[in-house]
């Protein structure tokens, strides 16, 4: 056994404090013992878990964002007009938010949409989609005359919330058209 065990016959009270300490040191650094340096990692793991939980809580797990294509027609450059092209009169759809200037802090409750021209005026976004889809070539009903790229201009009035513009845009795009632009000065 170890060197300390050979001194076991010495009575306990005869050992001075210094000799006991020496014996403890001897036992510690004895090559044959299994003593290994160990690090207590408990507090570090506590702190790290705390950080992990903090960052998980502080991170905003957002709802995913989706996109709608709005390909702005590039009309600033000097384009050459095709003389044989029949001029397409764009369909102008007006959007107008109700009670916009009442000091609210959120989006207005409702909005009004309309089509300029001899069309039945839509009251809801669904009726706007239906109306436009019936007039599209290959749309519902099969009697429409407008091609897919028939120009459609959304004309939001001043003070229209962006959400209402996007909703009207979405209703128009769902009818199957792909040439929709936003212009407050159209018509």
């Amino acid at each position: 056994m170890s060197a300390s065990e050979t001194k076991q016959h010495i009575p306990e009270d005869a050992c001075s404090e210094a000799r006991r300490a020496q014996r403890r040191r001897d036992r510690k650094f004895d090559r044959r013992s299994n003593w290994r340096p160990a690090l207590n990692l408990t507090s570090m793991i506590d702190v790290v878990f705390l950080l992990l939980v903090y960052f998980m809580v502080a991170t905003e797990f957002k709802r995913a964002e989706v996109i709608e294509r709005l390909d702005l027609p590039n009309r600033l450059g000097a384009g050459v007009a095709d003389p044989f092209e029949v001029p397409d009169h764009p369909v102008v759809i007006t959007v107008f938010s109700q009670d916009t200037n009442s000091g609210r802090s959120t989006v207005a409750a409702g909005f009004t949409i309309g089509i300029e021209g001899p069309f039945p005026q839509p009251t809801t976004l669904e009726s706007l989609t239906t109306l436009l889809s019936e007039r599209r070539m290959g749309g519902t009903g099969g009697r429409g005359l407008w091609p897919d790229d028939h120009p459609i201009v959304l004309r939001p009035a001043a003070g229209t919330d962006w959400e209402h513009v996007v909703r009207a845009f979405d209703a128009t795009a769902r009818a199957g058209y792909n040439n929709i632009s936003l212009n407050p000065n159209a018509g």
Binding site: F49, L52, K62, E65, L72, P156, D161
Partner: protein, 160 residues
């Protein structure tokens, strides 16, 4: 064996230890991940209320190269656009700011003509503040040869 040693052995507590090294590795990896992700998100996309459109005919944005233009709302004046933000750089919404925004977008379009521009605007900003931004994007696209303005409107994913 003496009684002294015998009793000491019997009272020695048994220590059960597990090797925690791999767990600490994984946990540190998670911490670093969350730190980096939170920084990336806040740099490109400003926190704002996106428009909510029920059952929108929209698509999830892919991994194609994009430039995000944020239009923030003024919190003290509802409906008023405060500024546009591109990668943390603010632009005012007057004519000077829109000119600067157009230049900024044109620089990126020069490098990548197929760049998609994502327009993230607050849902309560009025359209008269969005329109100059759209005009600036269109001007930037017209200035760069071979670029076409692929502008996408960003809205919140509809709740299913």
């Amino acid at each position: 064996m003496s009684t002294l040693l015998h009793t000491r052995r019997r009272h020695a507590p048994t220590e059960v230890e597990s090797n925690l090294t791999s767990m600490i590795d994984v946990v540190f990896l998670l911490v670093v991940f969350f730190i980096l992700v939170s920084q990336v998100v806040s740099r490109e996309a400003e926190p704002l209320d996106l428009p909510k459109v029920p059952d929108a005919a929209a698509a999830v944005a892919g991994e194609d190269p994009r430039l995000v233009v944020n239009v923030l709302s003024d919190t003290s004046q509802p409906g008023v656009g405060l500024r546009a933000m591109v990668l943390g750089q603010p632009f005012s919404l007057d004519s000077d700011g829109c000119q600067a925004l157009s230049n900024r977008v044109a620089v990126d379009l020069e490098q990548r003509p197929d760049l998609a521009i994502h327009l993230r605007a607050d849902r309560e900003v009025h359209f008269e503040w969005i329109h100059p931004v759209l005009e600036a994007l269109r001007a930037a696209s017209a200035r760069v040869d071979g670029a076409e303005a692929k502008v996408h409107l960003v809205l919140l994913e509809p709740a299913s």
